[in-house]
Amino acid sequence: MKQTFLESIRESLATILEKNENAYLLGEDIVDPYGGAFKATKGLSTRFPDRVLPTPISEAAIVGVATGMALRGNITIAEIMFGDFLALAADQIINHASKLHMMYGTQLDMSLVIRTAVGGGRGYGPTHSQNLERLFLGTDGLQILAPSLYHSPGETLKEAVASKRPTLFLEHKLLYPSPTKLGEVPPLWAMLTEGRWPTAFVKNFHGGSGDVTIISYGGTSLLVDEVSQRMIDEEVRITACFPLSLNQLPEEQVLEECAATGRVIVVEEGPTYGGWSAEISAWLHRALGKNIRAPVVRVGAANSLIPNARSLERDILPSINNIEDAILAVLSA
């Protein structure tokens, strides 16, 4: 049986703790038998009792302490139970974790990874379903990673620790039970680029050029994947790009794929207003120049509360229909 997204993370956490005497996990309710709200740390406190540390309910404290420990040369992986709670740790993340290692003349390595579960689709309500990573875009010194269906979250986690840079690591809740789709999985063709933060390029066709390029990240890869498969029957050739890093985009490669079709859709689960897709879209409009054949279309959540009721939640979050409408829009332009 293929390893799930969650299992990959749990396994890598174990490996990191095993190989590094100075690695620590901090978070709310992460110790056994509960093992974390999403079970990411299940079994770890039993194996490493001194280094899997439960914390008080204070996200600022969790990140603050983890930052301090990391500055002292430890490897700290802080779990923020729900991405919505990042707001409580915002000052620690933006003004401390991202800056302290660079602010005081001496550049320090800092292996701090802040892991958090993001995204909706489970009816968890307005304050447990958001994608707040856009609030941290543009914070220099913070790398933001969001593994998709096509990335190994465990490997990414290990790389994040090895990079010795403060990292925000986004795990979409809906991805947790999915087996990761590494390599070629018919009917789609997937390819990962080289480099530290590989980008996944997934095509629903073989040979020849595409019609539409879709750029997305993290959990939205589930939606885009399904749309790509459905579009095979409609003869719409889609190249999907899933970068791993939100703020270190492999510009050349993505630009090449976008220029090849000239029709680009950017999809994110957060609201489109002031979001990551706005940044990507603005960049593409300038960088593509005469290769643009239709204005870039963005798909994201409505800028509104995410309701508890599943049927209402569906109307706010981006859906397969939204993406298919966007595809029609760029093709008809």
């Binding site: 709200a37 489970r122 009816g123 029957d233 409609e234 003869e235 719409v236 595809i327 029609l328 008809s332």
Partner: protein
């Protein structure tokens, strides 16, 4: 036989995991007895039997089951045969297809191609072999057949066959010397009407067609001259030898004016100067190509103008003045001597300049301005119209 379905333990879970079975296959159970332990993301819960019977677990320990799907079955007798009913058959798709839904499915790409070519996917019949949908390739084939069939009622958006090279013309082919230059006009708006008006008065030029991106007017004529297709057709028409020179008639979209001229010249297409016969050109004055000069303009002695400029009526470029490229002038702009104007400068109407005025690239001079001796307008600067007597509420210079 009775089914026990996987319970919804909290509103957020779609499926639950079976941790372990407390009873074995075909064990007797009583109603209320605990038969299994299941787990959600929040807690583990014990599941009770809903009735008496012999238990048949349906989900392996360690596996997940969707909420509402069968978790176990209860049979009345220990050796009763059990077959899981086909709960998943929700009716075949063939049966659910209504009789009104007899039309063949079209793929998205097939529909787009059809609509772009004036075909309605709801009404057009395209033959398909086999059960598959109407594909883009089939629509493509259909369109090509229609184009080549003489009884086709499909209007094609351009008709290159209408324009012929001079070899076809009975006069030009027999007496080629001194034949009129065939001019292709880019843009079919008001500027084109002015351009055609001028070309009518010149013997050495003949307007043979216009190109415009407004597809609604393709196939129509402007002052008798055919509007043949979109601007992108220029290269192909050049390749067919259908025209000798081009001219940009657009004056209100300066960027498009520049783009068209530069793109087409880079493709080797030459541009004509279209100059009204009333224009006075002084001694040793010169101009580049692609200039459109309306009635009663004057180029003074030794005045030079570059390429792709549009001069409305009554513009005076006084002696020794220098004008760059891609500039547009409203009517009645009066330069005095030795004025220098750069590139892509836009000038309104009724502007007066004393000698030695210098205007740099991309400047905009509003109507009614008077620039005194030696004034300098720096690059990109806009000089607004001074105290207009009436304003329409929009920017003075459009």
């Amino acid at each position: 036989m009775q089914l026990i379905l996987a319970p919804q333990l909290n509103p957020n879970e779609d499926s639950i995991y079976v941790v372990e079975w407390r009873k074995g296959v075909r064990d007797p159970v009583r109603r209320g007895e605990i038969i299994a332990e299941v787990e959600t993301s929040k807690a583990t819960v014990e599941v009770e039997s809903e009735a008496d019977g012999y238990l048949i677990p349906l989900v392996e320990a360690g596996k997940a089951v969707r909420v509402g799907e069968p978790l176990a079955a209860l049979v009345a007798n220990v050796d009763e045969q059990f077959v899981l009913p086909d709960l998943l058959s929700r009716g075949t798709t063939e049966a659910s297809q209504s009789s009104a839904d007899k039309r063949r499915r079209w793929t998205v790409k097939a529909k787009l191609l059809a609509e772009r070519n004036g075909l309605n996917p709801e009404t057009v019949e395209i033959p398909v072999e086999g059960p598959g949908p109407v594909t883009e390739a089939l629509v493509q084939e259909y369109l090509q057949q229609r184009v080549s069939s003489p009884s086709s009622s499909l209007t094609i958006s351009f008709a290159p066959a209408k324009l012929a090279g001079p070899q076809e013309d009975l006069v030009d082919s027999h007496c080629p010397a001194g034949r009129a230059e065939r001019i292709l006009i880019l843009g079919a708006g008001d500027g084109a009407v002015q351009t055609l008006d001028v070309i009518r008065l010149t013997r050495h030029q003949l307007a043979i067609g216009l190109l415009d991106d407004n597809s609604d007017i393709h196939g129509r004529t402007l002052l008798g001259c055919p509007i043949v297709g979109p601007l992108s057709l220029a290269k192909e028409l050049w390749g067919q030898g259908v025209f000798d020179k081009a001219i940009v008639s657009i004056s209100t979209n300066p960027e498009l004016r520049v783009d068209l001229y530069t793109q087409l010249t880079s493709q080797g297409i030459p541009f004509a100067n279209v100059v009204d016969p009333t224009v006075i050109i002084g001694s040793n004055a010169s101009m580049g190509s692609g200039n459109l000069i309306m009635a009663f303009c004057r180029l003074g002695s030794c005045a030079t103008i570059g390429d792709n400029n549009f001069l409305s009526a009554y513009v005076n470029i006084e002696h020794h003045s220098i004008l760059g490229n891609h500039c547009t002038f409203g009517p009645g702009v009066m330069l005095s001597s030795r004025v220098r104007i750069g590139n892509r400068v836009r000038l309104g109407t009724g502007i007066f300049m004393e000698p030695k005025v210098s205007i740099e690239d991309d400047a905009v001079i509003g109507s009614g301005n008077i620039l005194v001796y030696g004034s300098r307008v720096s690059r990109g600067r806009t000089i607004r119209t001074p105290a207009p007597s009436a304003a329409a509420g929009r920017h003075a210079m459009e």
